[in-house]
């Protein structure tokens, strides 16, 4: 599903599709995201990487109007997310991590109702829903209730819901987690095609190889701050992204002996 024809790469000019300024969020005494700045250029595939608990999901939630930041602003396609959350949500498609959906609907019904609630013209609906279901390999399960879907199928129907209104920006939290290799390749192809058509993708992932091969730009987040950002080549700096990531984060080696009891010989 390509973005609307009016949304060519030139439409936004050089203005970033997503711009985060000084985003801060604490849970109790723990600072999850700490004055984070980030710009995502329009028409790029952007990867957000970081270790567990680095604040990736919190950052994406604040950028998508799902979690009110303590301080800072999030701007989507020139619109302040927290000044008017509903208007900003209309501009983007989001695949969140573990948010509830209407799981007592079938895949086709969920996609159709999401489209209707997002104001997709009714005459386009059947064609869009069919195209998304068959592209993502869900056509055979279109009549199955989403509550009976597997984790990978839920990811795929979530992705379809994020794309059904043809947004110019999509934000995806771990889009390829739990997805089988064939569907993973299909999703990568869909996303590449979407970016080629002028759309912008922001995705988070733990898998460095995926980000290295799929994304144009990357930002490494640790302890709620961006520690490196730029094109994949810039950030990697001649190394593999995996190695560069480990250098940036600082690897905590497992102490020799602490897990010695795990070895089968010790018992």
């Amino acid at each position: 599903m390509r973005p609307d024809a009016t949304a060519g790469p030139a439409a936004g000019g050089s203005a970033p599709a997503l711009s985060l300024r000084g985003l801060t969020k604490s849970f109790g005494t723990k600072v999850a995201v700490d004055r984070l700045d980030l710009d995502v250029a329009a028409g790029r595939m952007f990867g957000l990487v970081g270790p567990n608990g680095a604040g990736k999901t919190t950052t994406l939630s604040m950028a998508t109007g799902l979690l009110r930041p303590d301080a800072g602003t999030a701007t989507v396609l020139g619109r302040d997310v927290w000044a008017d959350p509903a208007a900003a949500k209309a501009l983007m498609g989001v695949l969140p991590d573990g948010l509830r959906v209407f799981d007592r609907l079938s895949g086709r019904e969920l996609l159709t109702y999401t489209g209707r609630l997002r104001g997709v013209p009714e005459q386009d609906m059947v064609q869009r829903v069919d195209a998304l279901l068959s592209a993502l390999g869900l056509a055979d399960d279109a009549a199955t209730l989403v509550v009976d879907y597997s984790a990978g199928m839920r990811k795929k129907i979530g992705l379809a819901c994020a794309l059904v209104h043809a947004p110019r920006l999509v934000l995806l939290d771990e889009p390829l987690e739990a997805v089988d290799p064939v569907s993973g390749e299909v999703i990568r192809a869909i996303l590449r095609d979407y970016v080629a058509g002028g759309g912008t993708v922001v995705l988070s992932s733990h898998v460095m190889e995926l980000v290295e091969h799929l994304c144009d730009d990357v930002a490494v987040v640790a302890d709620g701050r961006v520690v490196a950002a730029g094109s994949v080549e810039q950030v990697a700096g001649g190394q593999s992204l995996q190695q560069r990531f480990l250098d940036l984060i600082g690897v905590r080696a497992v102490d020799e002996g602490t897990l010695a009891w795990l070895r089968s010989s010790s018992r």
Partner: protein, 308 residues
């Protein structure tokens, strides 16, 4: 938007019915109960047409105040959060509370309790088809209709506002345990109350009993639960000014609940994810419990049971 949300609610209900036979059976049994409730309730309302205005007023105010109280408490205690149209699922969509609310409210009416309440409430229009002349009858029935609509809105809004206000609390297991205990206590005390009232009623004369009912109805009529339902009765007992005051007050209650619900909806549309814990980790050393049981598998299970 209203039609869309209503059709969504119907679709969700029919899917969940088709998914499991036990739900279908429960729905059928529930449907029979609802029919019985409608027949009893609407029958009583029609019968009250023949009673004098004061008795009809007292009986309908008490009955409907109890129904409204039920709408307030039952979802909190028994059903928890209505999960078919949880506002959190709209969080990703470009909608704000004001656009969702009319549809969500109407969708709340869909289902057995909603239909039963609506039918019985609307049958109260017949109770109040009295008064002198065509103009009088129309005025009474009109007041009853307005009151019934306000009353139904109060029921729905009370249940919505309280369930979403307490949604976070309701999801905790500790609260569900406490609620189960509270229900048992209420059921037991209800039985005792009925016994006490019956034994008193046997000794008391009819007039004394009638006075008691009237006092109860007057008190209930000034609470938010009874306020809208007492409007037509005030008119019929020749107190039009009082009826207007009550009408304005019930409008105020509905308005306040509407605003409160909108506030909560706006919050839950923008923070559907619970804050990931507030950083208070469970205290690591449950020393006493841990020492209470031997360090075996059975000991671990016993310790766990005690800890919760």
């Amino acid at each position: 938007m209203v039609a869309l949300l209503v059709s969504l609610k119907l679709r969700l209900m029919s899917n969940s019915l088709h998914r499991s036979t036990s739900r279908m059976v429960m729905m059928l049994i529930g449907g029979l109960y609802a029919l019985l409730a409608i027949a009893t309730g609407a029958g009583a309302m029609v019968a009250l047409r023949l009673a004098d205005a004061s008795l009809a007023d007292d009986a309908s105010v008490l009955g409907f105040a109890a129904v409204t109280l039920g709408w307030t408490l039952l979802p909190l205690l028994v059903f928890g959060v209505d999960e078919t149209l949880d506002p959190a699922v709209f969080a990703l969509l470009p909608v704000d509370a004001s656009r969702l609310m009319p549809g969500l409210l109407l969708a709340g009416l869909i289902g057995l309790p909603g239909v039963a309440t609506a039918v019985v409430a609307l049958s109260s229009v017949l109770t109040w088809s009295r008064g002198g002349g065509v103009a009088g009858v129309v005025a009474h029935m009109g007041a009853a209709l307005v009151a019934a609509v306000l009353g139904i809105a109060t029921c729905l809004l009370l249940s919505r506002t309280l369930t979403s206000g307490f949604a976070r609390l309701l999801r905790t297991r500790r609260f569900r345990d406490a609620a189960a205990g509270l229900i048992a206590l209420l059921a037991a005390s209800a039985g005792l109350t009925v016994n006490a009232v019956m034994s008193r009623a046997e000794s008391a004369g009819f007039d004394q009993l009638r006075g008691l009912v009237h006092t109860a109805a007057v008190v209930a009529g000034w609470t938010p639960f009874g306020l809208p339902w007492s409007v037509p009765g005030s008119l019929a007992t020749g107190q039009p000014l009082l009826a207007v005051v009550r009408l304005l007050l019930s409008l105020g209650v509905v308005g306040a609940l509407w605003l409160g619900w909108r506030r909560q909806l706006d919050i839950s549309l923008c923070s559907p994810i619970d804050g990931g814990g507030d950083g208070t980790a469970v205290r690591a050393g449950h020393g006493v419990i841990d020492r209470l049981y031997p360090p075996t598998a059975a000991g671990a299970i016993a310790g766990r049971c005690l800890r919760y």
